[in-house]
Subunit: 191 residues, 2 copies
């Protein structure tokens, strides 16, 4: 079955005609590892459904320091949501950590589809709630967890994701040095 | 006009019959300043539309330290969303900072209403997106802003809210002492 249809039908059921309309609004795009999908100040008009690959969403502060907001992989949706929903310019960067294939949906087609197939709003509501909860978990972890606890949380929630993230990138996400991260690896294997 | 109807009709239009059904699912509750609306480990079955008042959502870490996640006031929706949407136990606390009146909607009525009036999902989708974006802003501020910048962001985005939050609570939110917060006040008045 088509990957996108299968993904949507985990939440709502579609007729062939409905999926044909949905499918006609998405277009496929392939990126290479290290490609920037979104750059700060880009006008953001697309949301991306990830067919394969891995990306990181990050921000660069005034001291040119990079802060990783989140990772995203197969079956996840990603974009600079603040910019996408308000049809404005990016404040974030979205970059591929692996060769990545996405299906792009423009904001105008997103609106058009929701109007034509109202039950799609039920699907996107579930996705928005998922994003809201994931962000709340990230806030709680930033407020209360040590770097080691953040590492263990990631290991517990997304073991396969953890193996795919380059060590330098993971160290940046956790806010620790490569050496400290190596210690976490050794200690978690002893557990 | 009814406050709730007015609030919903900013996004979707309702017939009198539709609003009657919606209204029948909400019930009003009044809390006093300092009352706990949600306690950690409570089973969370309600989402709250705030008619009047002010609340803080917070977490207590293993060292009994309180971390404030967010504030909410009139016209906002609040609950422990992770617990509400997954029908599980609270990991957060919701407490009134002022006498507060809310309209409560249970998860089963939330589902019932969305089924009976599908366009309500459009309304809740807009609200979920708003929550998602607000949480993303909080993540960015935790990752990149100093306490003083967080104060200025709050002053700029929610000037009236800032005046209502007790100084000790605001100092906790910003992660600074009362003395440092007083310095921010003086400095921002000079600007």
């Amino acid at each position: 079955m088509n990957i996108l249809r299968n993904h949507i039908e985990k939440i709502i059921t579609l007729t062939d005609e409905e999926f044909e309309l949905i499918d006609s609004c998405f277009h496929s795009k392939k990126y290479r590892k290290k490609d920037l999908v979104i750059k700060e100040t880009d006008f953001v008009s697309q949301v991306y459904f990830i067919v394969s690959g891995l990306m990181k969403l990050y921000i660069i502060d005034r001291d040119a320091k990079q802060h990783i907001i989140s990772f995203s992989m197969e079956d996840w949706w990603e974009t600079d949501y603040m910019a996408f929903y308000t049809e404005s310019k990016a404040t974030q960067f979205l970059q591929c950590l692996e060769d990545t294939e996405v299906l792009c949906l423009s904001f105008s087609d997103y609106q058009k589809l929701n109007e034509a197939i109202p039950k799609l709003e039920h699907f996107f509501l579930k996705k928005a709630i998922g994003g809201h909860i994931a962000n709340q978990k990230r806030i709680l972890s930033l407020l209360t967890l040590t770097a080691k606890e953040k590492y263990e949380q990631l290991l517990h929630s997304y073991p396969s994701l953890l193996q795919r993230i380059p060590k330098t990138v993971l160290a940046n996400y956790l806010g620790v040095s490569r050496e400290t991260l190596s210690r976490f690896f050794v200690e978690s294997k002893k557990m």
